[in-house]
């Protein structure tokens, strides 16, 4: 392939990346809060609730995201005989639920790693449960979970390639199409570079956050 041909590919690649970026942000928008709700449920004193959520986490984390995508995409139409989600919505639903399950375990282990003395000290000072969490526990948890969250964010960037399973045209699909058409590996290399750039941005952002919270130690 000539350089000119590579340049001609770029609009298609940018469009594929845009799909990945949209999926990335929409997933975070729903999965980050949903994960926290799940973590609270999992840590609840209500035994049944905690068990149900543990089972949910097990199912989601124990099966391939690719299968979950297919399930969400085709279950409504095939099993219920109703028109289901469009492809992109199906991908957003599957990704959000999947990542919420992972995030919830990160939140939970982070919250549980804060020494009990912190909430006890807050309690004797008269903090309500809500304020103990928002003012004392959460800021410390947030700092601790930044590294594992960063890992998940990078994985999410790469996982967006799975959306191709349900026919979404994203970076991987674009690259494969052009590889077949041109009988060249260059489109694949270009796709690799695009993923690296996206994850480079994620990396910079997470490092910045970690630096921003470096002024105290937990």
């Amino acid at each position: 392939m000539s350089w000119q041909e590579v340049v001609n590919l770029l609009p298609a690649f940018l469009e594929g990346s845009w799909m990945a970026v949209k999926l990335f942000f929409i997933t975070l928008l729903f999965a980050l809060p949903l994960g926290l709700v799940l973590a609270f449920g999992r840590m609840s004193k209500h035994r049944l609730l905690s068990r149900v959520i543990a089972l949910f986490q097990y199912v989601i984390r124990g099966t391939p995201l690719m299968l979950q995508l297919v399930f969400v995409m085709y279950f409504p139409s095939i099993q219920l005989g109703i028109s289901g989600f469009n492809r992109f919505t199906a991908a957003c639903v599957a990704f959000s639920v999947n990542y919420a399950a992972y995030f919830s375990e990160i939140y939970r282990s982070g919250i549980e790693s804060i020494p009990k003395g912190q909430s006890e000290a807050a309690r004797v000072l008269g903090f309500s449960k809500a304020k103990t969490f928002s003012r004392i526990i959460w800021p410390q948890t947030f700092k601790r979970i930044l590294p594992p969250l960063g890992n998940e964010f990078m994985t999410l960037v790469k996982d967006t390639a799975l959306a191709t399973t349900i026919g979404i045209i994203e970076l991987l699909r674009v690259a494969q199409n052009h590889m077949n058409r041109s009988n060249s590996m260059i489109p694949i290399v270009v796709a690799l570079v695009f993923y690296l750039i996206m994850n480079g941005v994620v990396n910079l952002f997470m490092n910045g956050l970690e630096r921003r919270y470096a002024y105290y130690k937990v």
């Binding site: 309690r123 008269g126 105290y216």
Partner: protein, 258 residues
């Protein structure tokens, strides 16, 4: 009890068990306003559990506790503890300050924020007023220059003094200490004990679980010796440290004199 005022803490026949283990077996004592009560006793005798019961970090099973004339809990017909309504519990919580063995400062907040967070968040004090009062407290404890530092930048003795300032910021009626110097290097215990002596001078009511026998002897006006969940003996420091005729007290104190 020796010093001035009315009884502000009344503990009666309080018991607590953890599973099979009877940790407190009918503890009763009183503390008068301005009084300083030291609780001593071997490890596992239930001292911390008692303090945690008074500060509502642990639910007691039976008996009663009264703080400033209000009941925290009292026994029903069967003797089981029935707690006051939540609003009253919360009110009584604020009458007590607690200083922990390992400080438990909030690591993400600067020293001054550690001190003013509760006045602002819990008492809804205006930030400026809380700040002024907090700085005054820090100055009093010799920590004014550390106001903007973070807990990890302070020595253990300094951290413990901050945790005392944090408790004092809510103007508690009674300040409880659970072995406030046990986690400190020997050369750092002095500065914390000095602060406690100064508080005693200011007539602060204090309930101190301690292994510092010299401190208990000098500063407390009443001493309780506990073992295996019961009060073996109580009296003035002279009685306990001078002329006890209880075999268990003697044995316990002997270890500290070696």
């Amino acid at each position: 009890m020796a010093r001035s005022g009315d009884i502000i803490l009344r503990v009666q026949d309080v018991s607590k068990r953890f599973g099979e283990l009877d940790v407190l077996k009918g503890i009763s004592f009183e503390l008068a306003e301005g009084g300083i009560l030291a609780i001593i006793g071997p490890s596992g005798s239930g001292k911390s559990t008692l303090l945690r019961g008074i500060c509502q970090l642990e639910r007691m099973d039976s008996g009663s506790i009264e703080i400033c004339g209000e009941s925290l809990f009292s026994p029903d017909d069967t003797g089981a503890a029935v707690y006051a309504p939540p609003a009253q519990q919360k009110r009584l919580q604020l009458k007590l300050g607690m200083v922990f063995q390992t400080f438990h400062l909030f690591p993400h907040l600067s020293i001054i924020r550690n001190v003013i967070e509760a006045p602002i968040q819990v008492l809804n004090k205006p930030k400026r007023q809380a700040m002024e009062e907090g700085m005054a407290l820090l100055s009093k404890l010799g920590l004014a220059d550390k106001a903007k530092a973070y807990p990890y930048q302070l020595s253990g003795g300094q951290q413990q003094r901050v945790s005392i300032a944090r408790a004092l910021a809510l103007n508690p009626e009674i300040l409880c200490f659970d072995e406030p110097t046990s986690a400190l290097d020997p050369e750092l215990t002095g500065e914390v004990l000095k602060v406690m002596r100064d508080l005693a001078q200011d007539n602060m009511t204090m309930l101190v679980v301690t292994h510092e026998m010299r401190f208990a002897a000098e500063v407390a006006d009443h001493v309780i010796f506990m073992d295996e969940g019961v009060i073996i003996e109580e009296g003035t420091p002279e009685q306990i440290f001078g002329q006890t005729n209880q075999e268990r007290t003697k044995q316990f104190l002997q270890k500290f004199n070696e």
